[in-house]
Amino acid sequence: MNEESDGALVRRTCSGEPRAFEGLVRRHEKTVFNAALRMLHDREEARDVTQTVFLKVYEHLGEYDPSHKFYSWIYRIALNESIKALQRRKPTAALDFETPDGTAGPDRVFDQRELSDSMAVAIMGLRTEHRAVIVLRHFMDCSYEDMAVILELPEKTVKSRLFTARQALKTALETRGWTSE
C-alpha cells in the first residue's frame, strides 16, 4: 500500500484539510516522544514537549520549506523544544544525572532491563550537545547528513560529536560495571 508522503500531507493540510495533519502526527509522534524522553528523562515533560512540537509545526506549517525533508524540520523543532525544557529546569535537577547512582562494581553482564536503565542515566549524564547527537542517531535514525542539517553544523563536526558521545557513554557504563562481553 502506498503511504501518502509527508509533503502531500502538508499540502493537503495547507489546502484546507486540517485532518490531513493527523496523518503527520500519527507518523512522527512516537519518534518525537521517544526523542524528547531521551533528552529529558521525564515522561511528563516529554509528553508536554511532544504536544508543543506538533502545535508549533501546525502553526508554522506554511513556513515549511518543501525542499527539505519534513522529518528534519520536525526533529529540529523537537530537539529545540527539549533543550528549552532542560533550560527551564532548576540547575540542581540536572545534577542528579551527572554522577552515576551506582558505584563501580565488578565487571559483569547486565541484563537488558538493567542495561537500558543504566544507559538512560548515562545518556542524561552527557553534555546536551552530545546527548542530542546520540538521540538523533540512535533514536531518530538520522544519517550524518540529516544530523548536520538538523543541527546546522558541518558533517565533520557532527561525526566528531557523535564519536565523542559514544566514548563518553562507554566510560559512563564502565563505571557502573558494564562490559561488552
Binding site: 495547507c14 511532544t50 520549506d65 537500558s116
Partner: protein, 212 residues
Amino acid sequence: MTAQEHALELINAEIDGVITGTQKAELNRLLLADPAVRALRDELAGVCNALDTMPREDLPAGLHEAIVSGLPVATPISHAVARRTSFAQRPLLRYAAAFAGGLLVSALAFQLDRLDPSQAGQGALAGTIADAAHVDGSHAEARMIVNLPQAQGSVTLTGTAADPQVVTALQSSQPVSIVTQLHGDGVVEVQVVDDATASVLQRGKLRIGSAR
C-alpha cells in the same frame, strides 16, 4: 589525525554502516595488528547495540488525542501571498537602475493550491495582484502568466514609468526565486528560477502597459 583517531573513525563508520571497502580493509588490518583497537571496537559496538535495542516507549495514553484536539481550528497560513515591491522605495535599486539596471531577488517558497479563490476572482489568479481601482491610464500594467509544473500564478509590472512596481502572486511546489531586472529603457526582465538547480524556468520582458 592520530592513529587512534583514525581507528576510531573507521570503527564508527563500520558501526554506522557507512564504511567503504577500502576503509573496511584498513580496519581489518588494524584489528588484526592491535588488540587495543579490537577491544575498542567491541566496546563501542556494544554501546551502540545497547542504544539501538533500548525499548521505544509507547505514547502515554491520551497523548495523540490531546495533540490533535489541541490544534488551532484555523488552517495553517501558507506563503501564497502577493508581494509588492516598489523600486521607488528602494533608492539603491533606483540608483542602480538608472545606470545599469536594478536587480531584485524575491525568494518565495509557496504551497500549491493556496490562493484564496475569493481574492482571485472567478479563478483568475491575476485578480489577487492588482486592484482595478488603481489601474488607470497612468497605472497601466503588464503581466506575465506563470504556468509551470513547479509554479503557477503571475508576475505583474504596475505603477507608473517613474515608479514601477513588480507584484508577484505565485504558488509553487518547491522553492523558486523571482528575479527582476529593471533596464534603463523602462523594461523589466523577469525570470522564474528554480532554487534547487538555479535554472531559469521561464523568462519574460514587461513594460508598463504592454507585455512582450
